[in-house]
């Protein structure tokens, strides 16, 4: 399972944030302990004898010298609070600046569009023919800054890969940007962090961080049009695909299916998960998803498909060939 935790950073930004957090954790933890110690001391200091009638007389005019001493302690406490908060403010500001200092010429640009409830991912390139479009899985080369341009076509979503950085919202009508850089290879899980309706819980994606050569190979593979079917069954499967409602929403480049309502399926078999990080990409899951996705992800936009068993098997063969 890919990691999804702010506590184990895999890039400089998540690293800076968590070290700021730990600093604050230790300082506030110490303050908490000191305050509790004073509280405890105050409680046990002058415990009154239980139920004594005379003890109930309130101390209306506390001794002035004691009050003065206490006000000195209180003032010291307030002054220390101000100092600590000021340190926090400065540290927070410095960290914030560092988070935004990834701008480099040599970066990759990835466009992410939020949909209810999946992620459309495309890699910007000056030449249109070199633009890659995929869904729910982002590959980035290790050690290289990536600029993410974030937008949404429906409601507000939030782009969040805790191992790499904090979140940035995808707001319809706005384009937000965020920078990511990963120092460690691996697969990191991200998830939508702004409530976006029914299947907010199942709107995840993976970020695959790999060496540049591997990334390049993946990129080139994604650029290609869909693989031609090589067996009879796959051919029949493509026929099923093209003659069923699938084409109303999905694209398979190299065929007539070109709708962009749902995820691009040109290389669906190359992806690790189905249904926006909900299911592992296996034949069984794929079958379940195609036939009745509402069982798996109630409320999602994909209608059920009543297919003959033979057609279904052929369709699965075809989809699984789309590496």
């Amino acid at each position: 399972m890919p990691s999804q935790s702010a506590l184990s950073p895999a890039g400089p930004q998540a690293g800076r944030i968590i070290s700021l957090w730990w600093m604050m954790f230790y300082v506030t933890g110490a303050v908490f302990l000191i305050v509790m110690a004073f509280l405890m001391a105050a409680l046990v200091r002058r415990r009154r004898p239980y139920g004594g009638a005379a003890a109930d007389v309130p101390d209306v005019r506390p001794e002035p010298s004691g009050e003065r001493r206490m006000s000195h302690v209180v003032l010291t406490g307030v002054a220390l609070t101000v100092v600590i908060l000021f340190v926090f403010l400065v540290r927070s500001y410095v960290t914030g600046r560092a988070l935004d200092s990834l701008h480099e010429q040599d970066h990759l640009t990835v466009k992410v569009v939020g949909h209810q409830w999946w992620w459309e991912v495309s890699y910007d390139n000056a030449t249109a023919a070199y633009t890659v479009t995929t869904a729910n899985e982002i590959h980035i080369p290790v050690g290289r800054p990536v600029l993410f341009k974030l937008s949404s076509t429906d409601v507000i979503h939030s782009f969040w890969v805790p191992n790499l950085h904090g979140k940035t919202d995808l707001v319809p009508g706005h384009e937000n940007v965020t920078w990511l850089k990963a120092d460690r290879e691996g697969v990191y899980r991200g998830q939508c962090a702004e409530f976006c309706g029914h299947q907010h819980a199942h709107m995840a994606f993976t970020v695959v961080v790999e060496p540049y050569e591997k990334f390049k190979a993946w990129y080139d593979a994604q650029l290609a049009a869909a693989q031609e079917p090589s067996t009879e069954s796959q051919k029949q499967g493509r026929q099923v695909f093209l003659s069923s409602p699938c084409v109303m929403c999905h694209t398979v480049r190299g065929t007539d299916a070109g709708s962009r309502v749902g995820p691009d399926l040109t290389h669906v078999a190359s992806r690790g998960t189905l249904a926006a990080g909900t299911l592992e990409n296996t034949r069984g899951h794929l079958a379940g998803w195609v036939v009745d996705s509402q069982q798996i992800k109630p409320g999602n936009r994909m209608p059920p498909n009543n297919l003959e068993p033979a057609d279904l098997q052929a369709l699965l063969d075809y989809l699984q060939s789309l590496k």
Binding site: M1, Q4, S5, A6, R16, I17, L20, W21, M24, T28, V35, M36, L39, A42, L43, R46, R48, A55, D56, D59, V60, P62, M70, V73, V74, V78, T81, V82, L85, F88, L89, S92, Y93, G96, R97, D154, V155, I156, P162, G166, K167, T168, D169, V171, P172, G173, H174, N176, R189, Q191, A193, E194, F195, C196, G197, H198, H200, A201, T278, P298
Partner: protein, 690 residues
Amino acid sequence: MPGRKEDDRAERAASLEAARTDIEALRAYAAGVDAARTDDLLADDIADEHERRALAKTWGDGPGFWGWLASTNHKTVGRRFIYTAFGFFILAGILAVLMRVQLARPESRFLNPDLYNQIFTMHGTTMMFLFAVPVMEAVAVYVLPLMLGARNIAFPRLNAFSYWVYLFGGVMLWVAFVLNVGPDAGWFSYVPLSGPEYGAGKRVDFWAQMITFTEVSALCVATEIITTFFKMRAPGMSLNRVPVYCWSVLVMAFMVFFAMPTIAWASACLMMDRLIGTHFFNPAEGGDPILWQHLFWFFGHPEVYIIFIPGTGFVSTILSTFSRRPIFGYTALVLALVSTGFIGFGLWVHHMFATGLPRMGESFFTGATIMIAIPAGVQIFCWIATLWGGRPVFKSPMMFVLGFFFIFVIGGMTGVMQGAVPVDLQVHDTYFVVAHFHYVLIGGAVFPLFGAFHYWFPKVTGRLLSEKLGHATFWVMFVGFNLTFFPMHILGLRGMPRRVYTYQPNLGWGDLNMLASAGGVLLTLGVLLFIVNALRSLRAGALAGDNPWGAATLEWATSSPPPAYNFLRPPTVDSRDTLWTQPADQPVVIGLRSDVREVLVTRALDAEPDLKTEFPDSSIWPLLAALATTAMFIGTIFTPWALPVGMLPVFVTLTGWFWPKKKRLAEERPPEEVKEKHGERWLKLQEQES
């Protein structure tokens, strides 16, 4: 409740018996001294009894069901308000339990996403709009006039109206929920999810209109509180002698005044977007979804302080009483409250750090957010100093306050962490935030509120709660609370977002979620213990007497429960901790008529007697006006025409409400000499013609 009536009868018989013995003793003593004086004493007692009866008749609620509906007494309305708000607390608590059942295991099928989304929306909405703010107002409605030495709250009919409007708004929302048209876009209802395109049906409309109900109610109560605070204090209660609790509700009322119109306006815009196709928040037509967030949080953040500030008032009150000394740093505490009120309006953007606002601007809000820890620190330090310099008594209200310290300080610490933009970007909208605000709100408001319930229960009902059960309630709630919410900090850091109806097993969040759910069971048990304690004590609790805690504020200067008119003779004040320091012959107010609802109005700063005025009688019109308003508000969910048409009945009922009453003939005043009582000084009011 027969048991209670019998007890009351026995109690009355006992007190009569005691009075008779006293009089016998006095007579025997006086026989040798001055027979004439004894007769005077007797005459005084008789005059007092006459006065009591007259006042009870004038200020009491009318007979029967009708009188019950028409009541404008702040105690009757306040009690209703508290019970209703507590009812909503229970309902929202049940929803919380359902959510914890769903989340206890990964990929649970206990609730479907549609229902879960309605449930978490209803939980947040009910807790914030129908429980937390109203219950704070409700306690203020009950306690404030008593603490200030007044006979009723200012604008008593408005008070009744505000309760009915609140009740109807809350019931409307819950009926909608039961009919499966409960709102499902979160208590924050972000557009476009809540807009016409994605929020289909009437679900969000019920949410938006519930806002209108509670805003109207809250603004009315805020008006009453501010007026009562400034104009109805006991003579001599200058601003520097006002109990800290009263200051806290004043700050709350002012915050309501400035925060609520924003959300009322925002929700009206949302309704117009949905009903008549305005495009305030539609980016395709030049509107802006971020605008909604600004408007919502400009209200939403102060809302947190609206809830928390009266909580601090409870803490100050309870701490002073059970530390057996005046509160330490009175001026500092009051200034901390006021500055919290101001700063609270300057940090709403910290809810929006991830929306892509300019970083430099965000740093300003980091500063403001962190700054609010300063007045909070001042308060914490002053409270600990109060304990340090006092002799703490560990009664059950005090236990809740001590629990408050532990929980609230943790909540404050995580709050400071989130003020930092970088940290917030990670923990925003995760379970870390869920943990944080439950620590702040349950710690900062609900624990003090339960302390206040235990503290004022004897005043409201005349009976003491069981201390044993009270302590048990505290410990079960305290442990349950921490078990429920502490693990959520870790869940958030480990990547669990909020508002998800389920999560996948291989994410490794199952164990901590199970622990949190188990804690939830304990927390629920604690609340049940409180209910059991309250119901038992209502029937069979020990009689409380006027001032069971030996407290210093004026609400303890009258009987428990207080009579309809609060004080036989309204008190005067010459110090901050009145009941602890006043001399035996502290003057009282006389010269107020007992045949009409005459009250004394005092000056804003020094509370010198200013003028006498007459309060309106009980009336059914506030209820009718509330019904008319409800019809209009609910109608506008379905058609914009309900607004102009629905105005008409509202206008009619308001006319009835404000219809001038017939002049009454003044009754003969009792002769002056009867009012003179030995050994007491009077603050005699000048007759005023205007």
